[in-house]
């Protein structure tokens, strides 16, 4: 065992011992949460307010007298691409940094992420932890996760009704705060107001956000999270045994395929989808020309056809169609 590994193991034992002492002295801490620290991971898409929601939660915890830490991580992609952010809440100073691999609570702000092989939001969630999914009613919980609480609420739908925008930073933070069972409603609302004011939001929009956060806080149940059993990291680390790869195998990989980006399925990014009315469409090509993602083609009847696997829902086609033959429909999907 390398020296650093021994050191980290000793540190781990120390933390556990400390936590144990803490638990025995303060049995009420964490409403049944046995953990030196509560770890919350937010998964969403760029533009939904993932970073802001972790900040709101962190600030709300701080207002309630906890020590809090929050940080986002982006990939080399942008608006619409998977984004993760982390919040740690504790009564003692937090020495841990970086990614959260073993969260107690996961907030999935876009249900299509559940099937995204890069985002993998349910990875490492502790046994007995809680998973919140922003989905429409009737959402079936994913298989193989019976040991976790699943809570769903249609945040995007409510945000569209109240705010008029699919930005769900404040309601996600409110949901997370309620699920922790530690953070009071007044702190969440105060934190929402503070954080959004820093983003220079209009007062009217700010009030609507607070209204939405309050509504979600009241509607979400507060499950008793009991992640005691798992204790340490439950994430399965794949063993490092591999077979030598031959040249032929490498060449068969996707790298040799030109124009293979259609496999990415950026269609999961959209919240509204454009729908062409074939009665009105004359095949004038305007939508085809202005589509930034080459997602529209003409079919044999000279009508525009949209590639829903990759359409990001920017709605330039709707805006530019001279005949107004394209309408916008709220996307309803389960794990697209």
């Amino acid at each position: 065992m390398a020296n650093s590994q021994i050191n980290s193991f000793i540190l781990y034992l120390k933390i556990r011992a400390k936590a144990y002492i803490y638990k025995t002295r303060h049995p009420s801490f964490g409403c049944g949460v046995w953990s030196p620290m509560l770890k919350i991971r937010f998964h969403g898409r760029g533009g939904q307010g993932v970073k802001t929601s972790s900040r709101i939660l962190g600030r709300a915890a701080f207002l309630d007298g906890f020590v809090a830490q929050d940080s986002p991580i982006y990939g080399a992609e942008r608006r619409g691409a998977p984004v993760i952010s982390f919040t740690r809440i504790s009564k003692t100073p937090i020495t841990e940094r970086g990614f959260i691999f073993d969260p107690d609570i996961v907030i999935v702000m876009d249900e299509t992420l559940l099937n995204d092989w890069l985002a993998r939001p349910l990875d490492g969630v502790k046994k007995g932890g809680a998973v919140f999914v922003n989905a429409q009613p009737g959402f079936p919980p994913p298989e193989g996760h019976d040991d976790k609480f699943f809570i769903t609420y249609d945040l995007t739908g409510r945000a569209l009704e109240i705010l008029g925008k699919p930005i769900i930073s404040s309601p996600s933070a409110a949901a997370a705060a309620k699920i922790t069972g530690l953070i009071t409603k007044s702190s969440v609302l105060e934190a929402t107001a503070d954080e959004l004011a820093e983003l220079d939001l209009k007062d009217e929009l700010l009030e609507k956000n607070i209204q939405l956060a309050a509504e979600v806080y009241d509607a979400i149940p507060s499950p008793v999270i009991n992640t005691e059993e798992s204790g340490s990291i439950t994430r399965e680390i794949s063993p490092l045994d591999y077979e030598p790869v031959t040249y032929e195998e490498v060449i068969h990989l996707d790298i040799a395929n030109l124009g293979n980006s259609a496999l990415r399925r950026t269609g999961n990014w959209r919240i509204f989808k454009p729908v062409v009315d074939p009665e009105k469409c004359t095949g004038c090509m305007v939508c085809i020309i202005y589509c930034p993602d080459s997602c529209i083609t003409l079919n044999e009847n000279n009508k525009a056809v949209i590639d829903y696997d990759n359409c990001k829902g920017c709605m330039i086609c709707l805006r530019e169609c001279p005949l107004r033959a394209i309408s916008s429909v709220r996307e309803v999907r389960v794990y697209a």
């Binding site: 942008r78 619409g80 259609a262």
Partner: protein
Amino acid sequence: MSETRFKTLRDVPLEEYLAPGNPLCAGCGATPVLRMFLKALEGRAVFVNAAGCFTLLHVYPYTPFKSSWMYTAFASAPAGAQGIRDALDILIEKGKIQPEEDIKVVCFTGDGAAYDIGLQSTSGAIERGLDFYYLVYDNEAYSNTGFQKSGATPYAASTATTLPTKLQREGHTGSKKDLFEIWRSHKPPYVATIAPSHIVDMLRKIESASKYRGPKLFISFTPCPTGWYHDTSESIRISKLAVECGVWPLKEAIYGEVKHTYTPRVLKPVEEYLKTQGRYKHLFHPQRQEHVIKAIQENIYQYWRRVAETEKLDIIIPSV
């Protein structure tokens, strides 16, 4: 531009050279330009890409391109293009590829690389007479890294580094570099400005540029929903407004001779353009900064007055 195969939108080739599913933002104003560029070149091109948003077109293992792509550092896209061009020329000379099999070398850079970091290497490439295409997608800031001010940021725009403050209420206090004029002063065979809303104009320009041997440079207006804070569906409409308000003149210069290819009959007030974008919000909210709007408007009118005079154009310019 007498003989052109592009007369209306129906003449746009249907063949697609850019596959869907690239990871750029929804509603990106640069990808329609890129698509049209590839259509006009019929896909027979090798791309040299300086650091910028377009870097993300090609994230391993996925690519939307059907031809080769090379990624260079910020400053060195034209240098990369020079290397590829030389290699192709040598292969042709040695008879390893036939002259009709030749492919075009195209540089894509953002405004950060074109206006600031890569300006000298482009200047060198134009001076050497390198036979290449250069496309700038100008979204007026370093938007790949979080929308910081670049040399292309226009007066009064709010960016991550030129936020409107109590002391500088107008946002960015400097003005946009005139890259068209900088490049034109080198007298290259072809320089033009294009806009994603004016597709036929763009295709014609690429077509007429292909007649020349040497540097062929294009500066494209590029609405950026993420950095300009507008709805993703507005990109093309904003581009149209920019042309109609006179903010983005569509012009070309052949060996230094400027000609405006599209002139709005009546210039729309610039306010219409400014109001569409969140980066100019501070000019109207909480208080209207009349003197700033007036200064922007006067600047545009001045430009068009000069153009109307030198090119004998019939434009109605209201007096402020």
